[in-house]
Amino acid sequence: MTIKDRLKITMRTAAAFIGGYVIASLGAAFLARFLPLSPDQASLMGAILSFAICTAVVMWAFAAQSITKLWLSMVVIAAMLGLPVWWSIITEGRL
């Protein structure tokens, strides 16, 4: 294995670990805020579904062709999930 290959694997692994947990967490928060359920039930559903999100992100991290695109897309997705959550917490507050 060349150094370049090792670096690629490291980048993908990092994307899988960091991206996997961050996107799953933001996904859980997003679902908790926006699922049409009571806040307590939505919080639970968000957490339950987050593990499926995490699995999908990890697989994507190793399946994606371009590592640069992968990282960029992850940032975009995290923002798409995180910003509405942030905005809704700012405007509507938490219990």
Partner: protein, 552 residues
């Protein structure tokens, strides 16, 4: 890495499986055993004989507690169910300031087990099956929270390994019916596939629901998004009801049989499993009664609270909704608490399949790579380490579990810190197998390890029949199916290990050209193994091998 989707998934499957495989093996094995944790505890306390009437038992328990702990803050009475035997009672003394509030379960200074006549039985102190159950997610010798993160991390790997394993698998249905024995690597792969595919829904379910059982630790962000303070979330979802205060006026406790009758009627005939009395003897006493979960899919233990003097039902709000129901069902499906004996055995067998799946997966990794090593006779350090870890875990842990059972029978009954000594015996044997594996050649280590495990498992029923009057023969004669099943399971397990030892003993590694010969009998070209893969060989790991070879 720029390969097709399936190839990259095969790569991910191989490495995510390998990196945490040993811990997963331990989690799966102890979890599988823990489906019978109550039964194991019963076996590990042979002094306890069966009990008859639970109504009588309740009266005995209250009389015992009134004498032993009249001033207690809370009494707890676990009624005998179909699974466990005996009435277990415990009491929580009134806390003084600065005292440690939590007590270890089974602490004999604040708990007792009563026999038919209401006398405390002197049972040997043991953690029983609960130790194996707790090890399944708390591991041992390390802080619980760290252990749970380690377990969760490995479980996430497992989920990825399962899903990528499915993706990798083009011919999942055919492989369901394929087990080619005596074909070297092929057989390992088939063994891995059969145990994986056969119980696939179980593996997916058990892994996902396992994550859900501890999700408030792993994934608190759903709660954090809606609640500033997690306590207010828990108060909404799991309302505890009003906190009562001791009044200081003494009053007689309502007869508990009346409460049981009322609760059973409200539950449509379902039996209670647990009764706890707060401030017994005080006029502010309350009685909490919890429904048995056997036969219930949703794991929330439904409980009712009654006034301790008048016996009136006290109002209580219970939360319900899709989230809590999903969580409860997932947790209960994971633990199989609702299941009867037959379903429990199916759980157990699926768990065994999962354990074998992980074990064969780990071995497959080395079998597949040994032939490709520059010098197969002298593998490099990493390869040797993995081989030793395989022997140490796959043989060492089961041997350790047998030692745990043996220690339960062999250690002096009134020894101090007995439960800890039992647990240490398990780890001593486990570590012993590790050291042995380091000292011996890998093949010898496998054979000797399997034989040692087999001997230990054979010893369990023998030692049981020598040290107690509840040996296999007596159990069969007395229709004591729990004890008989335990001993027979030990014998069968021993048989499996003897069989494995023999298989490894008689095993001659297939030489490299053999693989090629199988594919192309007429033209044994060396180095053509990967190029001549038949369509039927398309299963994850082989695809990856082909990809590696052709990409050069």
């Amino acid at each position: 890495m720029n390969t097709s989707f399936r190839q990259s998934m095969a790569w991910l499957h191989t490495w995510s499986g390998l990196l945490v495989g040993w811990i997963l093996f331990a989690i799966f094995l102890t979890g599988t055993v823990a489906f019978f944790n109550d039964e194991i505890t019963v076996w590990m306390q042979p002094e306890l004989k069966s009990f008859r009437s639970s109504e009588q038992a309740l009266g005995h328990a209250v009389r015992f507690l009134e004498q032993k702990a009249p001033e207690a803050r809370r009494w707890n009475i676990s009624l005998p169910s179909k699974r466990g035997e005996g009435v277990n009672i415990s009491w929580q003394p009134e806390q003084k300031d600065g005292e440690e509030p939590r007590r270890r379960r089974g602490d004999r200074s604040t708990s007792a087990t009563l026999d038919d006549t209401g006398q405390a039985v002197n049972v040997r102190d043991t953690r029983g099956g609960n130790f194996l159950y707790r090890f399944h997610f708390n591991l041992h010798y390390m802080p619980v929270i760290w252990a749970r993160w380690v377990v969760g991390f490995c479980t996430m790997f497992m989920l990825v390994a399962i899903v990528t394993g499915i993706v990798t698998h083009k011919k999942i249905f055919t492989d369901f019916f394929t087990l080619r024995l005596k074909k070297g690597q092929r057989s390992w792969l088939d063994g891995h596939n059969v145990t994986a595919v056969l119980a696939l829904p179980f593996h997916l379910m058990i892994t996902y629901t396992g994550l859900v059982t501890l999700m408030s630790l792993y994934m608190p962000w759903g709660i954090a998004a809606n609640y500033k303070n997690t306590d207010s979330f828990y108060e909404t979802v799991f309302p505890r009801g009003e906190e009562t205060k001791r009044s200081g006026v003494s009053a007689p406790l309502v007869p508990l049989d009346d409460i049981v009758e009322k609760a059973t009627a409200l539950w449509g005939g379902k039996a209670p499993s647990n009764i706890s009395i707060t401030y017994p003897g005080d006029s502010a006493a309350t009685v909490d009664i919890t429904r048995s979960v056997i036969g219930e899919l949703s794991s929330r233990r439904e409980s009712l609270t009654f006034h301790g003097i008048t016996g009136d039902l006290m109002p209580k709000k219970n939360s319900s909704g899709v989230g809590i129901e999903t969580r409860n069902i997932m947790i209960n499906v994971h633990a199989g608490r609702y299941s009867g004996t037959t379903l429990r055995w199916l759980y157990f067998l699926s768990g065994v399949a999962g354990t074998i799946m992980i074990g064969t997966g780990l071995v497959l990794w080395t079998v597949k790579r040994r032939q490709k090593l520059p010098d197969p006779a002298r593998p490099h350090f990493g390869f040797r380490l993995i081989e030793k870890l395989n022997v140490g875990t796959i043989v060492g842990l089961p041997a350790g579990v047998a030692a745990y059972f043996l220690a339960n029978r062999l250690l002096p009954v009134d020894m101090a810190e007995r439960p800890i000594a039992e647990i240490d015996s398990m780890f001593v044997v486990w570590a012993g197998v590790f050291i042995w594996a380091m000292l011996r050649s890998t093949k010898r280590a496998w054979i000797e390890g399997f034989v040692a495990a087999a001997i230990l498992y054979t010893a369990v029923p023998i030692v049981n029949s020598v040290t107690t009057d509840r040996g296999l023969l007596n159990s069969l004669l007395n229709h004591d199916w729990l004890f008989a099943s335990f001993d027979i399971t030990m014998i069968l397990t021993a048989g499996c290990f003897f069989f494995l030892a023999r298989k490894v003993q008689n095993h001659t590694p297939l030489a490299k050209p053999d693989r090629t010969k199988r594919n192309r009998p007429s033209s044994p070209t060396p180095n053509a193994g990967a190029a001549h893969i038949e369509p039927s060989d398309i299963a994850g790991v082989t695809v990856q091998a082909a990809a590696l070879d052709t990409s050069k």
